[in-house]
């Protein structure tokens, strides 16, 4: 079974094509099998080497199985090892022949040399043949009791291998219990580490079906186990240290003294030369201090230097991994890194994946004091020979401009970019000027003057062209030749390949028409005709829509297409803060590098043994839930919800401007309010409507300069309005999930929890019972201190109308964020007060 690319490789002596060589080898092996001549081992070695090299490059040598086994009866350990390697590779496809090897492997398992014992045991367990497991149990049992630690380490991994071949056999033989004993008693740390790996994997997979395993897994996180491991941490190899640190990160200490003890103990791990150890320690520190804002801040300061050292000392690959994590931290708390911006300058010889990260970090840390330097540096990159990076740099300049610092100077620079006469620079700059104008309409005069000089013929990239056309439409009153430029573009309609550009053309011509009707009328006609005849569905639909709108009423059409616009205050963040928090929870995993939470790129069964914080572990089943289906189902619901809520999130988050030293998870720069896209002018009206009520009330609060805390001030304990709920309401999770997806958010509020309520949250179950007594039922709950998340539902008495609630409680700042969805939206306000009054009573005696 040669790999497909074999054929197009140049034939070289080391890579023959297969067949005849294999049969040749078979013959030679056979001749040597019985021979006892001196020097026969050397010739065997040569043959074995050949076999293995064929195996490596993908030639199927499984037909030699019998001969290989015959030849392996030898005291020569090098030969033995090669044979084991071969057998391990092909036993799975040759289960019958694999039986042949059992004999000599079993004999070797009793050899007096511990190395041979270990080797044989490892090979025996690596056969991956289900009907041979009976031979394994006995050997593993004695291997685990072996006096030699090497054999024990092998045996522990053997147990895990057995579990993967036949879970039942492994559990029935009670191996997990033996491993647990070894974990706490074996003098050899590698044995302990292997036990930990094996138990995490076994129990995590058992926990989905067995309550007992779930409890067993919890014991790994118990104080005695964690302390036992921590006290020995320096005896572990650096790799095993990572394993232990990863485990401890899941441990919940009982008080702050414990937290400080752990941190003091592990302080020196931050000076380790191995980046994996440092990052594992960093994760532990960050997670331990989540609820202690000022200590958390100190941790950031503390880990900065070690991480920067790792970035500059390793290979590009290693520093990329560390830099990705630094990137995450910078995004969460840019102000802490503001003075280190020079570390994020790009070096000319760095790979572009590193440069991209650095550019984003530079953008994030820009503030009043360093903007000038950062933008100057970024402008240097814009002339870079590396075009993708030059583009990114220009975008970065634009992003900084949108962040309001020193806009004046930046606009000048952007306009200079337009004059650089490099097409990609012009393209990027055009897109940025468009975004800037949407935020700072006051700059239109300066920008339009420059943009007007750009010939649309020189712009090839669809994005840039669309931006230019948008400006032509939007500012047609200020640009003298706007109608004529549009006209010439319409004339070349058929040459325009991008549908995006054609859509923009339609809208721009419409806008221009409302502003300068006599000059545009003819062009508009041509545009609509071309649009209606367009083969692209969206273009066709939009043209037809405009046409009918104009036919219906021109003033209405103007209101729809060209309504007065408000400047965009903050552009939508691409990622919701919920997703970001999720990534932060998964610190020191691939989620950080991919900038996606793990559920987006990993199958459930591979989330790994480390995933204790996964909902699987923490989602407790709702107390009143009628359905006791598999927990996995609920996770699914939650995941879907996360995906769905990304867009809603921005509308409802409100800056918590409690000063600069906020907990990083509530950084105000992450907060954003969705703005309608320019091309969706048409749609903008209906996207804003649903939540406008709540949004405007927040806006007023902000205008008055009052913090968010004002909103809940209205709510301390409003008397329950006459809305009666059904105390015995029932809803199954799938209906909940479905409803949650269908219904719009009818109400979204933030609410301050009473200190006693927050205190009582140490046992989230209590809240569920409490809410239940108010006829509000929990369907799913999850999270870890300080962030808890609950999904509740309630039903109106004597009516099938259902209320759905998502409630996110942060004990760090005693806030509860509530989102209510209701079948009957008219009473959602009443329900909200009911819910809040119930919540406010939580924790009171």
């Amino acid at each position: 079974m040669a790999p497909p690319a074999q054929s197009n490789r140049s034939p070289s002596p080391s890579q023959p094509s297969g067949k005849s060589e294999v049969s040749d080898l078979k013959l030679q092996l056979r001749q040597l099998a019985g021979s006892r001549a001196p020097g026969v081992d050397d010739s065997k070695r040569e043959l074995f080497k050949k076999v293995i090299s064929y195996m490596t490059i993908g030639i199927d040598v499984s037909s030699l199985f019998g001969e290989m086994v015959m030849c392996s009866v030898t005291p020569d350990i090098v030969l033995k090892k090669m044979c084991y390697l071969y057998v391990g590779n092909y036993a799975k496809v040759n289960p019958d022949l694999a039986l042949l090897t059992i004999n000599f492997l079993q004999r070797d398992c009793k050899d007096e040399d511990p190395m041979i014992r270990g080797l044989a045991l490892r090979s025996l367990c690596s056969l991956r043949v289900a009907n041979l497991v009976e031979y394994l149990v006995g050997q593993l049992g004695s291997g685990l009791k072996d006096s030699n630690s090497y054999v024990r380490t092998v045996a522990v991994m053997g147990v895990l291998k057995l579990y993967h071949i036949s879970a039942l056999t492994c559990v029935d033989a009670d191996f997990p219990a033996v491993l647990k004993h070894l974990l706490l008693n074996d003098p050899d740390t590698q044995v302990v580490a292997n036990c930990l790996s094996a138990l995490q994997e076994i129990w995590s997979s058992e926990a989905t079906t067995s309550e007992e395993a779930l409890r067993d897994r919890e014991t790994l996180l118990s104080k005695p186990v964690v302390y036992y491991l921590l006290n020995r941490i320096k005896e572990f190899s650096e790799w095993a240290q990572c394993l232990v640190l990863e485990l401890v990160a899941k441990y919940v200490p009982s008080d702050s003294n414990e937290i400080f003890d752990i941190m003091n103990l592990l302080e020196d791990r931050l000076h380790h030369a191995n980046g994996a150890v440092v990052l594992a320690t960093t994760k532990l520190f960050l997670h331990l201090t989540l609820s202690m804002t000022d200590v958390h801040q100190q941790v950031y300061e503390r880990i900065k230097a070690p991480l920067l050292t790792l970035v500059s000392s390793g290979s590009p690959e290693q520093s990329y991994a560390v830099l990705s994590h630094l990137h995450l931290l910078v995004m969460r708390a840019p102000y802490i890194f503001a003075s280190d911006y020079k570390h994020f300058y790009c070096q000319y010889n760095e790979p572009s994946y590193v440069k991209k990260l650095k550019l984003e970090m530079l953008t994030a840390v820009a503030n009043e004091s360093n903007t000038y330097e950062i933008v100057t540096e970024l402008c240097e990159y814009a002339a870079n020979v590396d075009i993708p990076i030059a583009r990114e740099s220009i975008r970065a300049v634009g992003k900084i401009a949108l962040e309001q610092y020193d806009v004046n100077a930046i606009v000048d620079r952007l306009l200079q970019f337009l004059e650089m006469e490099k097409d990609y620079v012009t393209s990027e700059a055009l897109v940025l000027v468009k975004d800037l104008l949407r935020k700072y309409p006051q700059w239109s005069h300066d920008c339009i003057a420059v943009v007007g000089n750009i010939s649309s013929k020189n712009i090839q990239e669809p994005k840039a062209k669309a931006a230019l056309i948008w400006m032509l439409g939007e500012y047609s009153q200020d640009m003298q030749d706007a109608p004529y430029i549009l006209e010439s573009l319409i004339e070349n309609w058929d040459d325009e390949h991008s549908a995006e550009v054609r859509l923009h053309l339609l809208t721009a011509v419409m806008k221009c028409f409302f502003k300068r009707p006599p000059e545009t009328q003819k062009t508009l006609g041509a545009a609509l005709a071309a649009g209606v005849a367009d083969f692209h569905q969206d273009v066709h639909d939009r043209a037809l829509f405009y046409y009918r709108l104009l036919q219906y009423n021109v003033t209405v059409a103007e209101r729809v297409v060209n309504p007065p616009k408000q400047a965009v205050s903050v552009f939508a963040d691409t990622q919701s803060s919920e997703v970001k928090d999720r990534i932060f929870d998964e610190f020191n995993t691939l989620s950080v590098v991919y900038q996606k939470p793990s559920y987006m790129f990993t199958d459930k069964e591979h989330r790994g043994p480390f995933e204790f914080s996964d909902e699987l572990g923490n989602l407790s089943i709702g107390t009143e839930s009628t359905d006791t289906g598999v927990p996995g189902h609920r996770v699914e619901a939650n995941d879907k919800d996360l995906l769905l809520s990304t867009s809603e999130e921005e509308e409802t988050r409100v800056p918590s401007n409690n000063g600069a030293y906020n907990a990083p998870s509530y950084d105000s720069s992450l907060v954003s309010i969705v703005a309608s896209q320019p091309q969706s002018d048409l749609l903008s009206t209906n996207t804003v409507v649903p939540s406008s009520a709540s949004q405007s009330s927040f806006a007023i609060d902000n205008l008055l300069g009052l913090g968010v805390s004002v909103t809940p001030a209205l709510a301390p304990a409003p008397s329950p309005p006459p809305l009666n709920l059904n105390p015995k309401a029932a809803l199954d999770p799938s209906t909940f999930q479905q409803k949650w997806r269908q219904l719009p958010i009818s109400l979204s509020q933030e609410y301050s929890m009473s200190p006693s309520g927050v205190g009582a949250l140490t046992t989230p179950q209590a809240l569920l019972l409490h809410m239940q007594s108010h006829s509000v039922h929990c369907i799913a709950s999850g999270g870890q201190s300080p962030n808890f998340k609950f999904f509740f539902f309630a039903q109106k008495a004597e009516e099938p109308s259902i209320f759905l609630v998502e409630c996110v409680i942060s004990t760090a700042n005693s806030k509860a964020q509530i989102k209510i969805k209701a079948d009957d939206q008219s009473v959602s306000q009443e329900f909200s007060s009911l819910f809040q009054s119930a919540l406010s009573k939580f924790g009171l005696p």
Partner: protein, 507 residues
């Protein structure tokens, strides 16, 4: 936890392939290599060290032109796997002495032996060269030294771009000397990579030293070793201010921003007398990595002038001044400068009397290269560029420089003594302490002259100028080439010019 490990050659051949868990399909190496290859061809730059294809995560590091890769389906720590891959490469190098495709192919059985012990069922067991010795039975086949690139600082730095270079020692930890007895020796290298960015006006914009103290020990019996550093060494961001006159060049204190240490290093007396105590493990390892942003005297000063010298011509003057004692020598100095994409040719003029310099205009990537064998106090070069368009000033540069200086370090960090704490019966072991400074990112931004009129005017092709330009070129051997190239640009116009100029040729 990883699922597979493999090493691929530059062409994508499997040299070693080990499947530990059987969770990822067999063709993964193929998928991986194709992805890496096309990443670059798609203009996205190098493939990142970690990426995901269909739920499989692929990790790789490049060492000595080989791709060391691992796969897994689990959401593991990326640092963990990348560190591990790098470590496996180092362990293999410890055993083979030399790490390259040839040595790996010759010794792949030994590598399999190592891999079996390093990882079991995807979990790391040990990466200690020393511990592994007792489990590995194959003898390394040493690759022919004559086929190796010549030794010396120049050669060793060629492998890998950013990775700290290894020592020049290419001896396996397990192989015996031909003479039979093992030579007792220990190597300590202080290697510093320096990054400096000069502004267009010659100021230092940023400067950083990334240093490492590397050790490779061939001592038998694992004796304890003490390494003493500068006594006045301080750690932490103390010496950041430029106005701190006491920390001026020369005898000033050395201030590290931060540092980290190898596991084996004990810091018991580090706070008192700056001594590191350790029992060095076998093989090569970094005792300590450090980072310095304190100001230091850069070994070279670079000045660049770019000047328009006519409509489609420009002059570039690059001056390099060596600012280190003449007793030290810098090798393999290379100055590079990217030129505008429409540069047609460049001519060079060196100072009279210079020897051993090479100059080149790399047509393919439009780059000016100037190589110097040995640095003199002041070297300069004048280059005349010919271009197809104007606007050169914004597109040329920045000038970057690579070099290696041995027995010199910019930070003044020193190994005061290297003590081997051992009651030795044999001769005193050889102790080698070496200092090497290497450019990491050494960049000077250029000064455009005529800066005021930075060609904001429109391109303006007047036929007469173009003609004149071509006429100037008639004598040059590039003529035909030039015509071919220009035809790709302004078609109608230049076609006409071509006609007229070929007429000229006929004359």
């Amino acid at each position: 936890m990883i699922s597979q490990f493999f090493v691929l050659s530059q062409r994508g051949d499997n040299i070693v392939f080990r499947d530990y868990r059987g969770e990822v399909q067999k063709g993964s190496a193929e998928i991986f290599f194709r992805k890496v290859k096309f990443w670059k061809e798609d203009g996205e730059g190098d493939a990142p060290p970690v990426f995901n294809v269909d739920g499989v995560n692929y990790f790789h590091v490049k060492v000595a032109g080989l791709l060391f890769a691992a796969t897994t389906r689990a959401n593991v720590s990326p640092s963990f796997v990348l560190e591990l891959l790098q470590r496996i490469a180092r362990v293999i190098k410890d055993y083979l002495g030399v790490l390259n495709e040839d040595s790996l192919r010759k010794n792949f059985v030994l590598v399999y032996e190592l891999l079996d012990e390093v990882i079991d069922f995807g979990y790391v067991q040990t990466t200690s060269t020393e511990v592994l010795k007792s489990y590995v039975f194959n003898e390394p086949l040493v690759v022919d030294a004559s086929r190796m690139p010549p030794l010396g600082p120049a050669a060793i730095f060629r492998q890998g771009t950013k990775r700290m270079p290894g020592t020049a020692i290419t001896k396996s930890v397990v192989a015996n000397e031909p003479g039979g007895r093992k030579r007792e020796e220990i190597f300590v290298d202080v290697i510093e990579k320096i990054s400096v960015t000069f502004s267009s006006s010659g100021y230092i914009l940023t400067s950083e030293i990334d240093g490492t103290i590397q050790m490779k020990s061939y001592l038998t019996g694992n004796p304890e070793i003490r390494v003493a550093l500068n006594e006045d060494l301080s750690i932490g961001q103390g010496g950041r201010s430029i106005h701190d006159y006491s920390s001026s060049f020369g005898a000033g204190t050395v201030t590290l921003d931060d540092c980290n240490f190898h596991e084996s290093v004990r810091l018991d007396s580090f706070d008192i007398d700056r001594t590191l105590t350790m029992i060095p493990p076998d093989g090569e390892f970094s005792v300590m990595n450090y980072r310095i942003t304190q100001e230091f005297k850069p070994p070279f000063r670079i000045n660049t002038l770019v000047e328009e010298a006519g409509l489609l011509k420009a002059e570039v003057i690059i001056k390099v001044r060596a600012e280190f004692p003449s007793s030290v020598s810098a090798n393999t100095i290379l100055v590079q400068m990217p030129l505008p994409a429409y540069t047609i040719r460049a001519s060079f003029e060196l100072e009279p009397g210079t020897v051993g310099n090479t100059t080149d205009f790399k047509e393919a990537n439009k780059r000016l290269e100037w190589g110097l064998k040995k640095a003199r106090m002041l070297s300069s070069i004048l280059s005349e560029l010919h271009c197809r368009y104007r606007n050169i000033l914004k597109e040329a540069g920045p000038v970057s420089m690579t070099f290696t200086i041995s027995m010199y370090n910019a930070s003044k960090l020193q190994v005061k003594y290297l003590q081997i704490v051992k009651k030795t019966k044999t001769d005193n072991p050889y102790r080698w302490v070496r200092y090497i400074t290497q450019a990491n990112s050494y960049v000077a931004r250029n000064v455009p002259i005529n800066g005021s009129g930075v060609s904001t005017s429109k391109l303006n092709f007047e036929v007469p100028t173009m003609l004149k330009f071509l006429l100037l070129e008639v004598k040059s051997p590039y003529f035909l080439f030039l015509i071919l190239r220009t035809t790709t640009g302004q078609k109608a116009l230049i076609m006409g010019v071509k006609l007229s100029s070929s007429e000229l040729l006929g004359e």
